[in-house]
Each structure stands twice: as structure tokens, then as C-alpha cells.
């Protein structure tokens, strides 16, 4: 396996290449490395506090009670900030990189956020479920999502009442999590080349009715009891449970020829809802294409989407003498393997239209990992996450940080990540490099548990500093899998050579390394993953 191809795989399947990882991938080969990655499960969300916020029977607000009061009560009990600490620590350091990347893709498809749902322990449960099911089955993902009290609160399906059902969850389950609004061919292209509706509003209502009758798991308490009658108090410790009095028992016609018979229970209706979605002809291409877009390329060819959709549908994918997947429709191990091992993802010569803009989260981690760095997450949330419009766990709505079809100006390509890229973020990406390389990143914050800051270590490159061309080439392979295009390379080498012993004394080598790193990671060749 070539260096370039190995680099591409680390770009697609991890939070960033390192010199040792590229060597590992080359040694093992693509399918063996992917299989080995799928066997790893070392990352968990563990930080932040527990469920006491939803067991508070005192009339004093939780954060006003002396035991909990303090500047960090909201952060540690209610916010997603502790999850972001885990997220960036794991992304920059843990070895189950592919599981984390797939979970990161899933959390940008089945979206919840901390803007509308507060409760650190509940969010932790939600995102651990996505890590657990990253190579499981998409049906199980949808089922856990539908039963999650966090999703229940986010899209108003907790305590949804047949009397006047709230349509929010039903609509987004169809539109964003499973089939989309337009009828698709098996290769993900639009049937007839235009948008022909997949469902009408009556269908959304039918799903909303079928999905009524779920309440929080038992365990919550408030000083004033629980409401409405018969429902459990707000609580995020486990899956939602049925509450018969609020469940609609009228027969309902769903999609894919599936109907909910009269007098079905809420769990029975949910299984039928899942049947109708998993059997829908759109689902494989709809989900498969989004996984391609999150991992490999914004503009996959229809044939590539078709191959990935086939793996989703059959639940099985074979490559390099290995078979991935357990054979059931919706198998994510098979689907992810098909995404990563496809001919369009592999090789040394990606097409001109291949690749995707490195989204801010992957730009952060890519630079950190390449430069032997790590982050405890603190600086990448309210500072750099907000600045670059990707504060992880806080997308603005269920529509994620960016849409899958955002048009790149000029031409016909889409670039989902261009939906949060603009003149201001273009400049801030450069300033992030200044922050890491010239400001020394961030030191550990006293109030953050287990903090170690956000830093890179570039001393390992100083041995090559005397030979600017060698240094720049080494850095370029790490950042892009190959030497820079020759005109760019010449320009960067010249700038690196501008630091000399004569004009910079003892620090000339470290300055050369930083100059090289700044310019190489600023190039379009790094910022756009191929």
C-alpha cells in the first residue's frame, strides 16, 4: 500500500494521520487495518456528573443548593462540555479511531444538541450509544434514538399524546434520519432528476400518531410531582417506556406497504415504524451517501453510492479476502467497510472532484495529531469551536452544523462543510495555526478535571531543519500524503529558508519547523481532504 493511499485512509477513517499510523496502515493493508479497527472499543464518555439533577425534590433549584452551587454547576451537571473534553482527548489519543469517526458521523445524522437538551448524564448516554453501535445495525441505532429520552425531549416525542400529537420527531425521523424528502434511485440520484415527494403530510401525521405513548424511564422526581397524569418525571437514565393512555391505537398506514393495526401497543407500533423505514427503497442510499460524505467525499459518483447501498442492504461486504458484516440489512460494519475500501476511496490518484473540506473539528484534530499534539478539549469548545462554528455537541438544530447539499459557488459540486466556511472562518483557520504554533496553544485550566491543555510538539522535526526541502517534504507527507504541488512547494521552502542561524540565533531550527508547519497546514492541499 502506497504512502499516499495509506495517508488517504487515515484521513477518511481517523481524526488525523500520524507518522506511525501511516506506517501501521501500510504494513497491515487497508482491509486488515479496517477490520482491526472495528474490533477496538476503547473510547467512552465518562466525564461530567450524574442524574441528581432529575431527582431533586427540593424547592431550591439544583444549582442554588449549597452542595452543588458554584461557577461550574451548569457546566458539570447540565452541559455537553464534559463530553467535549472526552471527545477531544479520545480523538487525539485513543486507538479506536474508526469507531470514534463513525460515531462522529452518526451524531451528525441523528442529531441532538445541548442547546435544547440539558443534562450531562443523558447526553453521555446518548453519545455512548452511538459509539456502541458504530459497527452495529442502523435499525438498532434508529430504535435507540427513537426511545432515547434525550431525543424525546429534543424533538418533543417524550409524553407525546394521541389527543393532538406533536409532529416534530416523526417528521425529522423520516426526513433526516432515514429516507429524506425526495424519491431516490438505488444509487442515491433523484428519480426523474427532480424532487418527487417521498411522503405527504398525512403520512407524517400517521407516523406521529404511531409514535405517541412514550414517557421517560422511571427514576426522576420533582418537588411538585410528575405531569401529565400517568407519565414519568423527566429522567434520562435509560430508554423511554410506553405509557398506554397516551398511545394512539387507531390503525395507521405507513410507508413501504407497512401498516400499524388497530390496538397495537407503542412498542409494537415502533417496530412497525422501523420495518417501514428499514425496508424503504431510499434508506440504503440515503444513509450510505451521508456516511460517504462524512468520511470520504462530498461528491461521490452514483456508482459508489450504489455499491455502499448494496452493502447496507445485504449487510455484507467483501474485500481483501475479508467479509464485513453480519448479513442483516442495515449492517454498519459492512456499510462502513464498503465506504472505506471502495475503489473511489482508495488509490493514489483521487479524481479532481474527490474529497471534502476538512470540517473544523477534523482540522483541529488533524493538525494536533500530525504534530504529536493532544487536546483536553477545553480550548476547542467555547473558543475555537464557536469561532469556527463547530462547537461539538452544540449544532444549532437537528439539521446539524451544515446541510449535506450546500452548494459550492461556481460549478455543480456540493460541499456540506462549506456551509460553515466563509471569509471569516477562512481567516480563523489560519489563526488557529498561529495559536498552536506561535502562541503555544493552551495550558491546563485549573477547573477542568484531568486537564493538560491543547498543545503540539514539533521538536521531532528539528533534526531535518537544516535541509528545508527535506523538512517541508516530510511535513507535507504527514499533512497531505504527498509532496506539495511543485509551485507551492518552492514557495514554502523559500519561506522556511528565510530563518537562519545568522538572523535567528539558537532558535532558527525550531522557527523553521514552525514556519514549515504553518504554511503546509495552511495549504488548500491540507484543508481539503482528498
Amino acid at each position: 500500500m502506497s504512502v499516499r493511499d495509506a495517508y488517504r485512509l487515515t484521513d477518511q477513517a481517523t481524526f488525523g494521520a500520524t507518522e506511525s499510523l501511516i506506517t501501521d496502515v501500510r504494513t497491515q493493508g487497508a482491509s486488515a487495518w479496517v477490520a482491526a479497527q472495528m474490533a477496538l472499543s476503547t473510547s467512552r464518555y465518562t466525564l461530567g456528573n450524574g442524574d441528581a439533577i432529575h431527582k431533586n425534590t427540593s424547592n431550591t433549584a439544583f444549582c442554588d443548593q449549597s452542595a452543588n452551587a458554584g461557577a461550574n454547576c451548569w457546566r458539570d451537571w447540565y452541559s455537553s462540555t464534559p463530553l467535549a473534553w472526552d471527545f477531544y482527548r479520545n480523538a487525539t489519543q485513543k486507538n479506536d479511531q474508526l469507531r470514534q469517526r463513525v460515531a462522529f458521523a452518526l451524531q451528525q445524522i441523528v442529531v441532538v444538541n445541548n442547546l435544547e437538551v440539558e443534562g450531562t448524564y443523558g447526553l453521555r448516554n446518548y453519545y455512548n450509544t452511538l459509539l456502541d453501535n458504530a459497527f452495529g445495525n442502523y435499525r438498532q441505532v434508529l430504535k435507540k434514538v427513537a426511545m432515547s429520552p434525550v431525543m424525546g425531549d429534543f424533538l418533543n416525542n417524550a409524553n407525546n399524546d394521541k389527543a393532538a400529537p406533536n409532529e416534530n420527531f416523526a417528521r425529522e425521523l423520516l426526513q433526516l434520519f432515514s429516507i429524506g424528502t425526495c424519491t431516490l434511485n438505488a444509487d442515491g440520484s433523484l428519480q426523474g432528476g427532480a424532487c418527487s415527494a417521498t411522503y405527504d403530510n398525512e403520512t407524517v401525521r400517521a407516523y406521529a400518531y404511531a409514535l405517541t405513548g412514550w414517557t421517560y424511564p422511571a427514576g426522576g422526581a420533582t418537588p411538585y410531582g410528575c405531569w401529565p397524569t400517568g407519565a414519568n418525571c423527566q429522567y434520562y437514565g435509560g430508554d423511554m417506556v410506553p405509557v398506554a393512555r397516551y398511545h394512539d391505537t387507531t390503525a395507521r398506514t405507513l410507508l413501504s406497504g407497512v401498516s400499524v393495526p388497530a390496538n397495537s401497543t407503542a412498542p409494537q407500533a415502533l417496530e412497525l415504524v422501523l420495518d417501514s423505514l428499514m425496508n424503504h427503497p431510499n434508506t440504503a442510499a440515503f444513509v450510505g451517501k451521508q456516511l460517504i460524505q462524512h468520511l470520504v467525499s462530498s461528491n461521490p459518483s452514483p456508482a459508489y453510492v450504489q455499491r455502499v447501498a448494496n452493502a447496507f442492504t445485504s449487510g455484507s461486504y467483501s474485500a481483501g479476502g475479508r467479509t464485513f458484516g453480519a448479513g442483516a440489512r442495515g449492517d454498519l460494519a459492512a456499510t462502513v467497510a464498503a465506504v472505506l475500501l471502495d475503489v473511489e476511496a482508495r488509490g493514489d490518484t483521487p479524481a479532481r472532484r474527490a474529497g471534502k473540506l476538512r470540517e473544523p473539528v477534523l482540522m483541529f484534530t488533524g493538525v494536533l495529531r500530525a504534530l504529536n499534539g493532544r487536546s483536553d478539549g477545553d480550548a476547542l469548545t467555547w473558543w475555537w469551536g464557536e469561532t469556527l462554528r463547530q462547537h461539538v455537541f452544540r449544532p444549532p438544530s437537528v439539521f446539524n452544523f451544515y446541510p449535506p447539499d450546500y452548494p459550492v459557488p461556481g460549478g455543480t459540486l456540493v460541499g456540506p462543510q462549506f456551509g460553515i466556511h466563509n471569509a471569516n472562518s477562512a481567516l480563523e483557520r489560519l489563526n488557529f495555526l498561529t495559536y498552536l504554533l506561535y502562541w503555544g496553544g493552551s495550558t491546563a485550566a485549573a477547573s477542568v478535571p484531568g486537564a493538560f491543555g491543547t498543545t503540539v510538539t514539533t521538536t521531532g522535526f528539528e533534526a531535518d531543519a537544516a535541509d528545508a526541502a527535506k523538512l517541508v517534504d516530510r511535513m507535507s507527507v504527514l499533512a497531505t500524503g504527498a509532496a506539495l504541488p511543485s509551485a507551492t512547494r518552492t514557495q514554502v521552502i523559500q519561506a522556511v529558508e528565510a530563518f537562519t542561524l545568522a538572523n535567528n540565533g539558537a532558535t532558527w531550527q525550531s522557527e523553521r519547523v514552525k514556519q514549515a508547519a504553518y504554511l503546509v497546514f495552511a495549504t488548500p492541499a491540507f484543508q481539503v481532504q482528498r
Binding site: N156, N160, D161, A163, A164, P165, N166, E167, N168, R171, Q175, C182, A194, C195, A197, N201, E202, R205, S298, P350, R352, R353, G355, R389, S397, F399, P407, V408, P409, G410, G411, L413, F418, I420, H421, N422, A423, N424, S425, A426, L427, L430, N431, T434, P485, A487, T488, Q491, Q494, A495, A498, N503, N504, Y518, L519, A522, P524, A525, Q527, V528
Partner: protein, 482 residues
């Protein structure tokens, strides 16, 4: 008349040239001829449009409420606990309508005849009756794509079409067709409204932010030290080079534009209230929303930035400028009211909008720019007339909107208020369990946009170029509020 292709090329070069970027790589071509009528700030002829997008779908039925006994009765009978008490509404003269009590910030503009509500506006391909809607096939062109979906209806409002695959916004296309000096300037993200065929909207950060790259700074110590000069030079050169990948080319192009525009605008963008370079008339108008040296976050801060850019037109350049701002959180599926219907989530959202727009309008008057600046709302869709069980409302279609500015023929309402009958002529529903009051629009986004762009200076032919479905509405092209 220039063809659209020529206009697009012209536009991009124009705004690059005025900021000094056009050089060998772009070539000079015939720019000289095309450039002549534009590009010079002509304050006497200056006009700006300010789009305020209310993301999530604002509940227009609780934004403007009918006050006559019959319709108020229909409203309160269906809206129930969500219904605003009649006495709480801000009366709009003899119009028969009142504003949500949180919109006190807009009352002065109404009294001055400079606020115009427009009723039941939404995406349409052509005039549409309920019978036509019910009879149409799923793939029919007569029905706008993916109704009731946030992302799709945002696209239809922002692009001024009925096709959710449309790539460019009506604001962006207007900058192409009218050959404005700058692209759409956004202080509220990358919304598709400002995308043209050649460029993304120019998204600027909020006051106090550095709109620039530190390594391209012009501090003396940077400019005097050869390795730093080499770093800055390499950075600029790298982005000027052709890439081996289409997305990388697009990335490099945006980076070049970012350098150019930040060179010109960073000082203006950074100014906060009370700082050197701030404008007293604007600071005074926004005073109720300023604490210390910060304008309240969200729409107030965005509109403060727009006011500053309008006052700084000599730096921004151009005599026609389209701005884009936004507020989020309007997807009030649950608990849209508080302990009473005049408080809670929706009231707080509207208060932010009313206060920000009211201060912005005051600032424009203080700058003697009110006649030249028209602000207007857009939003995903209206919300169901019938509340759901969560004290909220679900996705609907036609909606009420507001236009404000010194050129607005306000003190009147425009468009036709929907018939407030579940299952009635404006409701898409027919089945008993599907009668939520989702109004079929009686005025199209095309007509709304054409009214705004017509005032802005677009000819009829240019309106047809920007708004491809406008011709489907016959002679009813403009609504008369400007």
C-alpha cells in the same frame, strides 16, 4: 442588456477590482467598459436591502392577530391557551390587526407609516387553489418541493423558487444581475440567500472580532523582519496557485477573497459602541440594547453591525448593497408560551426582533438614511393554526411578514389574511385528523421579493431574470408596499 453570464463575471471582477486584487491572474479584459456605471460610491443614490431570516419558522399567526370580533373569535377558539388576549395586542390603527405585545419596538414605525405587514406569503410556483393542491401529483411542478420541511422551505424562501435543488439565492442572483460592487454581506452565517453563481456571501464577524489573519498583520515588526515577510508572501502566493482538485480550487478562491475583503473592512468591522470610529447616531439609537461596550448578542448585535457598515459605505463601497441577518429558535413545537400567552419562548424571540429592528430603524433615521434602507423578514414557514399537545405549533406554509423602512408605504397591510377555518379554503387539510390550519399562500415569495428588488432598482426584465417564477403571477408582480 447584458447577458447573465457576462453579468456574473463582471460582478466578481468588480468587487475584487475595487479592492485592488485584480491582477495578472484574473486579467484586465474588457472590465473598463463594463465598470463605468458602477463601483463608485454614490451616496445620493444609495440603497440597501436588509433580509432578516427567522430560522425555525416564526409563528406569524401570533405575530399579527386580527382584532375584529369575528376573526378574533375564530382565532381564540382554535388557538385556545396560545391565544393572545385581545387587550394585550398593540393596535395597528384601523387596520383591524394588532401586533404581539412583545413587538413594542415596532410601534413607532407603524405610527410613522413606515411598517407594512404582508399576509399569507409563501413559496408558490404559480397561483394555487386548494382544489388544485389536492389534485396535484407528488411530482407536479405546481406544488413547491418538500413542503413543511425546514431545510427545503428555507431554501425556497432564500432562493425565491419552488425547486429545492436551486443552488443560488435570490439575494445572490440580484447581486449578479444588478452588478453590485459587493456580494451579499452577511452578518448571520452562510444562508443560501446570498449565494450567487460565482461567490458565497461575504460573512463578517461581529463587532469586536478580528476579521483578518494574524500572520498577514501590518505591524511594523512584522514588516521589518524578513522571515515574517516571507511567511506572509508565501501564504498569499499559495492561494493564488491553481490546485489539482476542484474543492481545493474553491477553497483557495475563498481564501483570496477573504484576504482582499479583510484588508478593506477589518478596521470597520471591529468597532464596538463607544470606541474610536463608532458612530454616535448609531450608538444612541441602539442604546437600549447596549450594555457597557457590547450590543446584546444575536440579532441586535448583527443589526448594529449592518448599521455601521451602512454608515461606512465609503469603505464598504458600492451604491447598492444587500445585507443578510438572522435570528434562530423559532421552531416552537413545544412550550411556546410561558405562564400566560404573552410571555415565554415566542414572546422573547419576538421581543428580540422588535427591539433590534426598532433600534435599527431609529439609527437609519438618525443617519438620514431611512429612505434608502428597507428591512424585511423571511422565515421557513408559518405554523399550524391548531396547537399540539405540547403547547406548541407544528410546521405550516403561508405566513405573515414585516417590511420596515423610510421608503415603505406602511400604516397599511398587504396581501390577503387567510380564512381562519380548519378545513377551509386556505387549509391544505381535508381529513378530520389532518386539519391543523396550514395555509396555502395567497401571495408568493416571488411577488414579495419583486416588490423589494423593484424598489432596489431592478427593471422588469431583471426581476424576471432573478425570479424565474414571477411571470406565473401575471400582472400582479409587485405588491405596492414600496
Amino acid at each position: 442588456m447584458k447577458g447573465p453570464q457576462m453579468n456574473r463575471r463582471f460582478t466578481r471582477r468588480n468587487w475584487l477590482k475595487t479592492s485592488g486584487l485584480v491582477g495578472a491572474s484574473l486579467g484586465a479584459g474588457a472590465i473598463g467598459n463594463l465598470f463605468a456605471p458602477h463601483g463608485i460610491a454614490r451616496a445620493a443614490d444609495y440603497k440597501a436591502l436588509v433580509c432578516i431570516f427567522l430560522y425555525g419558522g416564526n409563528d406569524g399567526l401570533n405575530t399579527i392577530v386580527p382584532t375584529d370580533a369575528t376573526r378574533y373569535g375564530q382565532y381564540s377558539a382554535v388557538r385556545k391557551t396560545l391565544a393572545l388576549p385581545q387587550a394585550s395586542l398593540i393596535g395597528l390603527g384601523t387596520s383591524g390587526f394588532g401586533l404581539h405585545p412583545a413587538l413594542t419596538g415596532l410601534a413607532p414605525a407603524w405610527q410613522e407609516g413606515r411598517l407594512a405587514p404582508v399576509f399569507n406569503v409563501g413559496p408558490l410556483h404559480q397561483p394555487l387553489t386548494k382544489a388544485q393542491y389536492r389534485a396535484a401529483a407528488a411530482s407536479s411542478d405546481a406544488i413547491p418541493d418538500s413542503l413543511f420541511s425546514h431545510s427545503d422551505q428555507q431554501i425556497l424562501w432564500e432562493t425565491g423558487t419552488s425547486d429545492s435543488l436551486t443552488r443560488t439565492g435570490w439575494g445572490g442572483r440580484a447581486t449578479d444581475t444588478l452588478a453590485t460592487t459587493n456580494p451579499v454581506i452577511s452578518v448571520g452565517g452562510n444562508g443560501r440567500f446570498g449565494l450567487s453563481s460565482r461567490s458565497a456571501p461575504l460573512v463578517l464577524p461581529e463587532p469586536g472580532s478580528v476579521f483578518g489573519a494574524y500572520e498577514l498583520g501590518t505591524d511594523a515588526w512584522r514588516l521589518q523582519y524578513a522571515p515574517l515577510v516571507a511567511r506572509a508572501a508565501a501564504l498569499r502566493t499559495v492561494y493564488a496557485q491553481a490546485q489539482d482538485n476542484d474543492l481545493a480550487d474553491a477553497y483557495a478562491a475563498m481564501q483570496r477573497d477573504a484576504f482582499t475583503m479583510s484588508d478593506r473592512l477589518s478596521a470597520l468591522v471591529k468597532v464596538k459602541p463607544g470606541e474610536a470610529g463608532s458612530v454616535a447616531a448609531i450608538d444612541n439609537a441602539f442604546a437600549p440594547l447596549i450594555s457597557g461596550s457590547d450590543v446584546a448578542a444575536g440579532l441586535p448585535r448583527q443589526l448594529y453591525q449592518v448599521a455601521k457598515l451602512i454608515a461606512g459605505n465609503a469603505t464598504v463601497q458600492g451604491n447598492r448593497q444587500i445585507y443578510f441577518a438572522q435570528a434562530g429558535g423559532f421552531d416552537t413545537h413545544g412550550n411556546q408560551i410561558g405562564t400566560d400567552p404573552t410571555t415565554g419562548t415566542h414572546a422573547a424571540l419576538l421581543k428580540q426582533v422588535g427591539d433590534a429592528l426598532g433600534c435599527f430603524y431609529s439609527a437609519m433615521k438618525a443617519l438620514a438614511m431611512a429612505d434608502a434602507v428597507t428591512a424585511f423578514t423571511q422565515s421557513d414557514f408559518g405554523r399550524t393554526f391548531t396547537p399540539n399537545n405540547s403547547s406548541g405549533t407544528d410546521h405550516a406554509w403561508g405566513n405573515q411578514h414585516l417590511v420596515i423602512g423610510g421608503a415603505v408605504k406602511g400604516g397599511l397591510t398587504y396581501g390577503t389574511y387567510p380564512t381562519l377555518a380548519l378545513g377551509g379554503p386556505d387549509d391544505v387539510g381535508v381529513d378530520s385528523w389532518e386539519l391543523q390550519g396550514r395555509w396555502i399562500p395567497t401571495t408568493s415569495v416571488d411577488q414579495y421579493a419583486a416588490t423589494l428588488l423593484g424598489w432596489f432598482g431592478a427593471s422588469d426584465a431583471q426581476l424576471d431574470a432573478v425570479l424565474p417564477n414571477l411571470a406565473n403571477f401575471g400582472s400582479a408582480r409587485r405588491l405596492g408596499f414600496l
